[in-house]
């Protein structure tokens, strides 16, 4: 009888462990040097083959792979990518980056596409540069998130189906809460 009770307890403990493990697995955490971010349930990281299968992502040269963001996730058909954190003065100049993006995106306006907007804002002691624009049927968020000391900047990009704009905006808010670990 005593053995039976013990078996039940072990079974219960194992079941709980498995459920906990599954839950932990569902809550993917993006971590790289200097940053940590819990991503929504259902997020999965794309492997090289999956990335290459994305439109326009197949690398042609070694440099194509080298400049490609090393962390690319799929969150319910929204493709989210993060570069490594930059510590240099060029990439930590958010205003400079804004001018850079604004200048390049000026061509969209010339083609009659007035969707491009960009803003630098303060969020929880961090500075965030966010550019948003629509190209054909896809929306894009280009973002640069900077730590309070203005020494680290995480750049990334989000590509989403135009119909999922609200979902992408909510996700953008989550991303802005990324924690700098240094």
């Amino acid at each position: 009888m005593c053995n039976e009770a013990l078996r039940k307890k072990i079974f219960l403990a194992l079941t709980l462990s498995i459920i906990t493990a599954l839950n932990c697995h569902a809550q993917l955490i993006h971590t790289s040097e200097f940053v940590k971010l819990s991503l929504p349930n259902g997020t999965y990281k794309l492997n090289k083959q999956q990335i290459n299968a994305l439109p326009g992502e197949k690398p042609v040269t070694k440099m194509d792979e080298q400049i490609r963001p090393p962390y690319i996730y799929n969150i319910d058909n929204i493709i989210l990518s993060f570069h490594n954190v930059n510590q240099d003065s060029i990439n930590n100049n958010l205003l400079g980056n804004k001018i850079f993006l604004d200048g390049l995106a000026g061509t969209f306006k010339r083609h009659g596409n007035n969707s491009y907007t960009s803003i630098i804002k303060n969020l929880n002691s961090k500075q965030v540069l966010i550019a948003n624009y629509i190209i054909n049927s896809a929306g894009y968020y280009d973002f640069y998130i900077q730590n309070a000391a203005k020494t680290l900047t995480l750049a990334g990009k989000m590509k989403y189906p135009k119909a999922d704009a609200a979902k992408a905006e909510a996700l953008n808010d989550i991303i802005s809460n990324i924690q700098f670990t240094k």
Binding site: V60, T61, D64, I90
Partner: protein
């Protein structure tokens, strides 16, 4: 007592026999399925692009009869058809994009290995692949053979597999050799430490002076060497001789008076590899029969492409054009030297300086109109602005009153390098009725002399179009015209990612993105602001933007 096995022993025995037969049938059936898979690789092809290419290939290069044997392999001469001796391994095909081509690359099927013997080196030092290039709806097929020189292989032939059409080892020394599937020579390139040292050509006609074929193609000097290659097929463990071809290797030498660099593969000893079939003819004459070198002349029509493509891969077969057509590739330094007479003359220099001093954040610019097609003097066109930070509108003319617009110069106040729009402006002018209505010679004049100058506070950039680049530029323009936002978003993404990954300034990032998109179609020249010290801004074999001065 209840019987556990109610049936008789005989019945059980019969049942066992039936089961045994069934097992054998199942095993045999499975084996048959596996062999079917080998014979019909289409069964494993899930990529529709590859399946379509296979269908095209098999329609055009059908293989009558069975597999070759030692009895039918010594087919030398005009009837030689290489495609009869190999089968592409479709199951291992890879698909990627390069130079506006949809590339399908695959090794040979292991059961039909072919080898290329260069000089006295063993044919085991080679690895052949089938390359199918699709541009638009047109397919072209080639056999690409990579030959590793002993100093590169270091007795390890598995290193050959590190090299493909789109990427070769940074220290690759050897040869890439293109033929049609039937074995008709297309062209080839020799490498030393990852750098092109020579080009194999067939249509090279050298004049000879006193037994020496000689040439001078300023500003570079070239030497010509005869290189013979021989095809073999591996039957079991034996290499069986198939065919021999000889070509001319043209190599660039910085100083024609210096001795010929040792770019031909040195003898590996052992008389050409242990696998040769006994009694097979010696396919090649001794190496190093240098025919030429100094002074003298050769048809200037031949221009050898000795610049790496810039993306880490091998040059395209036939220079990207049709098989057996050597497309002359302009030396960007030659082009710079010629074009500088126009875009870097005193008028242009003064005009650039005047544009740069225009105040405010807006773009300013000026059309650069020759007074005639036979002079290097310019019409004194005004400096104009659209009062916008991101746009300046040029005005093309092609007449003796307003001048002949061969170029334009405008300021990028933000400091970025020329944009795709700036390059396309050159192409759009080519379509302008004011030019096209004046006939072919005017159009050719424009093509040879067109340029776009972009001025920033730190540098002056000039874009010219390679004489062989107009077609590629036209294709890119069609893509742009079809989806301008998508095209420019690609440019933005490349520039942004390059800046983030390499911590470079905006000008470098945008110059990289432009070069990345337009490739060999254009030349980009860069000079420090206020100077005419132009250097070539391009992407090196490691994929990074470099600025290289011309000699």
């Amino acid at each position: 007592m209840k019987k556990r096995y109610p049936k008789s022993t005989g019945t059980i025995f019969k049942l066992c026999i039936v089961l045994l037969i069934a097992c054998v049938a199942v095993i045999y059936g499975c084996r048959k399925d596996i062999s079917k898979l080998d014979d019909n690789p289409t069964a494993t092809i899930t990529d529709p692009k590859i399946a379509k290419a296979k269908s095209w290939y098999e329609t055009n290069y059908s293989k009558p009869g069975g597999k070759p044997t030692t009895q039918n392999t010594n087919a030398v001469g005009d009837d030689f058809d290489l495609s009869q001796f190999f089968s592409p391994n479709w199951a291992a095909a890879k698909n990627y994009a390069r130079f506006n081509d949809d590339v399908i690359e695959m090794p040979m099927d292991a059961a039909s290995a072919i080898g290329l013997k260069v000089g006295s080196a063993s044919q085991s030092n080679s690895r052949s692949s089938v390359l199918i290039l699709k541009r638009g709806d047109t397919y072209k097929a080639y056999v690409m053979t990579i030959v590793g020189y002993p100093e590169y292989l270091n007795a390890d032939t598995s290193k050959l597999a590190n090299n493909s059409y789109g990427k070769h080892d940074a220290n690759f020394s050897g040869m890439v050799y293109y033929t049609t599937p039937q074995g008709e020579f297309v062209d080839g390139y020799t490498y030393k430490n990852g750098v092109i040292k020579g080009q194999l050509v067939d249509n090279y006609t050298a004049t000879t002076t006193g037994g020496q074929a000689v040439q001078s193609i300023t500003p570079n000097a070239y030497q010509a060497i005869q290189v013979c290659t021989a095809w073999y097929q591996k039957v079991g463990e034996v290499w069986v001789y198939l065919d021999t071809q000889c070509h001319t290797e043209v190599i660039e030498v910085p100083d024609p008076s210096t001795p010929l660099p040792p770019i031909t593969p040195p003898s590996s000893g052992g008389g050409g590899g242990g696998g040769d079939s006994p009694g097979s003819p010696d396919p090649c004459p001794p190496q190093g029969t240098v025919q030429s070198v100094k002074d003298g002349k050769v048809g200037n029509a031949l221009k050898v492409m000795l610049l790496n493509p810039g993306d880490g891969g091998f040059p395209p077969p036939g220079g990207g054009g049709a098989p057996c057509t050597i497309k002359p590739v302009e030396d960007p330094c030659d082009k710079l030297k010629k074009s500088k007479a126009k875009f870097a003359d005193s008028f242009n220099t003064q005009r650039n300086a005047a544009i740069l001093t225009q105040p405010g954040p807006h773009e300013f610019g000026s059309d650069l109109n020759l007074t005639s097609l036979t002079s290097n003097t310019y019409v004194n066109t005004p400096i104009t602005t659209d009062s916008r930070n991101d746009l300046w509108t040029p005005h093309f003319t092609w007449n003796s009153t307003d001048g002949y617009t061969v170029g334009s110069a405008h300021k990028h106040p933000g400091g970025n390098a020329p944009s795709p729009d700036d390059v396309f402006l050159i192409f759009q002018n080519l379509l302008n009725p004011a030019l096209t209505s004046t006939g072919a010679s005017n159009i050719n004049f424009y093509k040879q002399n067109a340029y776009a100058t972009v001025i920033t506070s730190t540098a002056t950039y000039v874009i010219t179009v390679n004489s062989t680049g107009w077609g590629q530029l036209g294709s890119l323009y069609a893509n742009f015209d079809n989806d301008p936002d998508g095209f420019d978003n690609n440019y933005l993404s490349i520039a942004r990612d390059y800046k983030i990954a390499n911590n470079v300034d905006d000008a470098t990032a945008t110059a990289y993105a432009l070069n990345k998109i337009f490739g060999d179609a254009i030349n980009m020249y860069k000079a420090p602001a206020g100077t005419t010290s132009y250097a070539i801004a391009g992407i090196d074999q490691d994929g990074k933007l470099v600025v290289v001065p011309c000699p």
